[in-house]
Amino acid sequence: MYRMLLRKLLEAFITLFCATLIIFTLIRLAPGDPVQLLLGHPGEAALSDKQAYDDRAAGLRAKLGLDQSMIKQYTAWIHKLVQLDLGTSIHTGRAVGAEIAARLPATAMLSAAALLIQAVLGLFFGTVSALKAGKPGDNAIRLVCVALASTPAFVIGLVLLSVFAVTLGAYEISSEAGLSRLWLPALTLGLIGAPQLIRMARANMLAEFGRIYVLSALSRGLGRGRVVKHALRNALLPVITMIALSLTSLISGAVVIESIFSWPGIGKYALDSILLKDYPVIQGYALVMVSLVILIHLCVDVVYALIDPRIHRNREAGAEEHV
């Protein structure tokens, strides 16, 4: 178990290193020049100011280190990273690390809440759907799932917002960003992600119900609740992968919902930086996201091993015959 964890950690570092390379290169390959965006387009300046503009641009480039070769820039970035410094924003001059740290908790809180709602909805309705397979209850759940899955996220967000904030007045959008404002965006994200989890849980539960150990548990006279528990633990593994994948997409992709509910998350910050070609911010943001994804998957591997004994025990342990 610990050996597995150690190996996974090593793999994680290698992945992280590859990610820095890819992030760094991709950002620089994309069209657009941050200095130009910062100073305004040179065509707008009068011809006499051209020289001054070029001087200012060159000075800024030198100051930001953008005039150096790609390799030097990369090593400089890595050098800073090792000291846990994500650099400073070209645009605002503030430390990227601090900016991300200020925004990440809001996004993390939203994602966690949304994930909880997704998981509860997914497992509960998935199991119910499997138990009622082919009956009206199952059909109703599946219908709602299809409807939810095929509605764009912003529509769901806007509808919920208009129902709860405008019609019912149960939600105050302009209040302080806290727990009282969290539930509606979390519910929205939860509803968006739930259908795929429900479908997956249902399919897995149905497959497990067909297994012999379920028949065997029934034949030992165990009640239905018990037997469902037997099946659930086995059906859980693929569902957990799905939940983890959904968490990564939640953290990195909640931009739309964050802006609808004006939630002070990291999504908007990242989007603005991308438009401004703010290299250090984009790099920092991407790297933090990659680390989070790696971390989540590491957790999934550990949970897997905890749930399924076959993963970290080998066969030989008790395989010798004892006649």
């Binding site: 029934l218 025990r313 006649v323």
Partner: protein, 566 residues
């Protein structure tokens, strides 16, 4: 307290009333819905199981024997319909089966079975009727320790306090031949062999002190040695506890070895019923005679079959070694030679490495050391094109015929596929070839356009054989090719293979755990144990000449079970 009463060695007292009926089934009718049709599986079936006896329910697949087991425990799938019947369990409990056909019948999958206004199955299952399943490893929850299974059963039925669970489980396990019960309780099902799992399942069934035990093909998935072991234990514990056992099997030898009475079932109708010895020595029904003769046909020792030993061997295995996960040694210094037109049998229990050997020969696995020489060239490490070319020369037939065929293709498509893959002939020629080989294996007429789900297992195996032969291979490897088949179908497939062998002259490597099959079919038999061959003998001589203790053990197990059969 419970423990002392039921599981104490000396305090165990059971009043033996020899003739008390423990399970009585009267006029049971079950039908399955298939599309719009309804296929009747059991027609007014009645049987009686008495205390302290083992009643064998003998029948081939499709006879409805498993349906009986599922019907009396309320585990029938939703497509089943119970037309009527009555069930008496012990002397007190009476169940009207058509009540189950009403509201409670087959609700949903898994959960609803037995709920509703119908029968309270939860009260019957486990304590009234316990069950053993064919694949014991699958019958235990893969993510739960063995100990957790015992704990759950005992506590759920309030048969023990939490402190008593462990001693009770260990004592039961020791009754079933586990000397280290404590360790077993800490194991997961996948860490135990099939035979061990079946013994655990038996202990798990017995811990609830059931009135009746239904064992549905409990040893069919096991090799000869563990089969004997499990059956012996079943018999011993049954006699000790005075348990009533309904043993469902397709294997005459199993019924013969342990049962007191036997019921021969054919297409949902009882053909013959009576004392086991009497039924097998003087069968009255024609169907029973047919079953017995197909068995003796298989078991008949081979005569006048000698292979030519001229020239160098067609296939030669030299010093083959294979390990899994870097530590588990599966094959260890395996040496073997297969001559042209020879039929060579490989005999061994499960886990001895015989399937891995087959996979090494066909290039599905790569050995660490050693060579597989085919016509003087090493084929064990071929990759890419060379490996694909090998398919023309060496073909394999697998145990699970149905699973080895793509369920979406028709028989004709399945047999043509290897030809397409190898770019042999044009469309018309391929069709002619496929039709020819399918005709040779007895698949004709409208069977040609059917898909595996619409065919019987025997027919599927015929198609698999045709698919293997259509490339005209020189070596055919049959990996337990008849083990999953009914006795009469087994005899047919073996006869078919023999005829094809004579006609086309290929060599056969026949892998099996069943000494009967090999003795009748092969020229030579190589006995495999723990990853290497302990001896190679002429098939007819194996019985008398072998001095190897392992071979003797295999022979003894098979012999014990058949005693008095012929």
């Amino acid at each position: 307290m419970f423990a002392a009463r039921y599981f104490g060695e000396d305090t165990f007292i059971m009043v033996k009333k020899e003739l008390e009926t423990m399970l009585q089934i009267t006029n049971l009718q079950v039908a399955y819905r298939q599309g719009r049709q309804s296929v009747r599986v059991l027609d007014n079936l009645s049987l009686e199981l008495r205390q302290g006896e083992i009643l064998a329910l003998l029948g081939e697949s499709g006879s409805g024997k498993s349906t009986i087991a599922k019907a009396v425990t309320g585990l029938l799938p939703p497509s089943a319909h119970i037309g009527g019947g009555t069930l008496h369990i012990g002397s007190t409990l009476r169940v009207d089966m058509d009540m189950a056909a009403g509201k409670g019948r087959g609700k949903g999958r898994g959960k609803g079975r037995g709920k509703g206004k119908g029968i309270q199955w939860e009260g019957i299952r486990g304590r009234g009727i316990a069950m053993l399943f064919q694949d014991a490893q699958q019958a235990l929850n893969p993510v739960m320790k063995i100990g957790a299974h015992f704990r759950e059963s005992l506590l759920y039925h309030r048969l023990a306090s939490p402190d008593e669970v462990k001693p009770i489980s260990i004592r039961l396990l020791s009754q079933l031949g586990f000397l280290d019960g404590e360790r077993i309780l800490e194991c997961y099902p996948f860490q135990l062999s099939g035979g061990m799992c079946q013994r655990v399942c038996l202990a798990l069934a017995l811990c609830l002190k059931p009135a009746v035990l239904i064992a549905d093909e409990p040893t069919s998935a096991l090799d000869t040695v563990s089969q004997k072991e499990v059956l012996d234990l079943l018999k011993i514990t049954q006699k000790e506890l005075g348990l009533a056992v309904l043993l469902i099997t397709h294997d005459i030898a199993v019924a013969n070895a342990v049962s007191d009475r036997v019921i021969v079932l054919n297409k949902g109708v009882i053909e013959e019923e009576g004392d086991t010895r009497a039924v097998f020595s003087k069968p009255r029904a024609a169907y029973t005679r047919q079953l017995l003769s197909s068995r003796s046909q298989i078991a008949k020792p081979s005569r006048e079959r000698e292979s030519s030993h001229a020239g160098e061997p067609l296939l030669e295995i030299i010093g083959l070694e294979k390990t899994f996960d870097g530590k588990k040694r599966v094959l260890h210094d395996v040496n073997l030679a297969l001559n042209r037109k020879e039929i060579l049998g490989i005999l061994g229990g499960s886990g001895c490495g015989k399937s891995t050997l087959a996979r090494c020969i066909t290039g599905l696995e790569y050995p660490e050391r050693g060579h597989v020489m085919y016509r003087g060239a090493d084929i064990s490490r071929l990759r890419g094109k060379g490996k694909r070319g090998l398919c023309k020369h060496i073909q394999m037939v697998f145990q699970d015929a149905r699973a080895s065929l793509n369920p979406g293709r028709t028989a004709m498509q399945l047999v043509q596929e290897p030809l397409q893959y190898m770019h042999i002939g044009n469309k018309g020629e391929r069709e002619t070839l496929a039709r020819f080989y399918l005709h040779e294996v007895g698949i004709t007429g409208d069977l040609l356009s059917r898909r595996p789900p619409q065919l019987s297992t025997g027919q599927c195996q015929r198609i698999a054989i045709a698919r293997a032969l259509v490339l005209r291979p020189e070596v055919l490897i049959c990996d337990e090719a008849v083990s999953a088949l009914d006795m009469s179908v087994q005899a047919q497939i073996l006869a078919l293979l023999q005829r094809l062998h004579k006609q086309f002259g290929f060599s056969i490597l026949m892998i099996s755990h069943d000494i009967r099959v090999l003795r009748s079919f092969c020229h030579h038999i190589a006995v495999m144990n723990h990853g290497s061959f302990s001896e190679v003998k002429r098939a007819s001589a194996l019985l008398h000449e072998s001095k190897q203790s392992y071979t003797q053990l295999l022979l003894r197990c098979a012999g014990d079970m058949e005693e008095g059969l012929y």
